[in-house]
Symmetry: C2
Subunit: 151 residues, 2 copies
């Protein structure tokens, strides 16, 4: 079950092309291909994973270009960058499903998502109690996923 449906991925890609045109930036083949992979991913991709998929599909795109496209994608708001403390970042398409947090498997690296109303409610209160102007938060649960427990 993909995070982003085929159709939603296509729609996001279309929005990215539009974003580039609006910004008077060219829609290059590299940008289209990299964005296509990230925006249609059913997972939280690392740069390494993106590079691998590019190779599999026969595309020869430089590493620097991947990073530069990701920068644009994040700036466009269509992609979010995450740092799960692995020493590298991962990238996730921003779908309509709204705010969610992450469960990260420390064995296989798989990332699951969850939403919890209670959590989202309490964090602004805590920030307020400490006179913090909340900008964003990060909630991650690390553990062993069901599949890895059975090995």
């Amino acid at each position: 079950m993909p995070r982003v449906g085929q159709a939603e991925g296509q729609a996001l890609l279309e929005r990215f092309r539009r974003y580039l045109r609006d910004q008077h930036q060219p829609v290059t083949r590299q940008r289209d291909v990299v964005a296509g992979i990230v925006l249609q991913a059913d997972d939280h991709l690392s740069v390494g994973a993106i590079q691998r998929r590019l190779k599999e599909r026969g595309h020869r795109i430089g590493l620097a270009t991947i990073y530069r496209v990701l920068e644009i994608l994040v700036a466009s708001g269509l992609v979010k960058a995450h740092d799960f403390g692995e020493g590298f970042r991962r990238f996730e398409p921003v779908t309509g499903q709204g705010r969610h947090e992450h469960l990260v498997c420390t064995r296989c690296g798989r990332v699951l998502e969850f939403a919890n109303e209670q959590l989202e409610r309490v964090l602004p209160i805590i920030a307020d109690e400490h006179r913090f102007q909340l900008q964003r938060h990060r909630v991650e649960i690390y553990g062993v996923c069901q599949a890895c427990q059975q090995l």
Copy 2:
């Protein structure tokens, strides 16, 4: 108001020396000095900050040694390492005050702590709902601290 009182810092340092002796590892001057700085810190120190304090106090200790002492401190359980997504880690002495999470100021880098019972209660439930064997979690609130808001 320091996180770790002078007395508590001293006690932690004493425990570190005992830990080394128990492990049949030498208590060298470098280990003692670096541990002293980290264990008595009133803040979440980066390696850069540790290095700076060492220089201020006239100690010439190699960078590699700092990292190696930190590795021992973390292994001993007296220090916790944190990754606040800044591209480097920070280190915090483990005091008796128990579990807490962090508020990180995105302007000045200051780190405040907070504890919230509701939060600690809900996270294991969420892990369970997703058949995740919980190992640890991370809750961070990023925003602008009170001092920085007034600038």
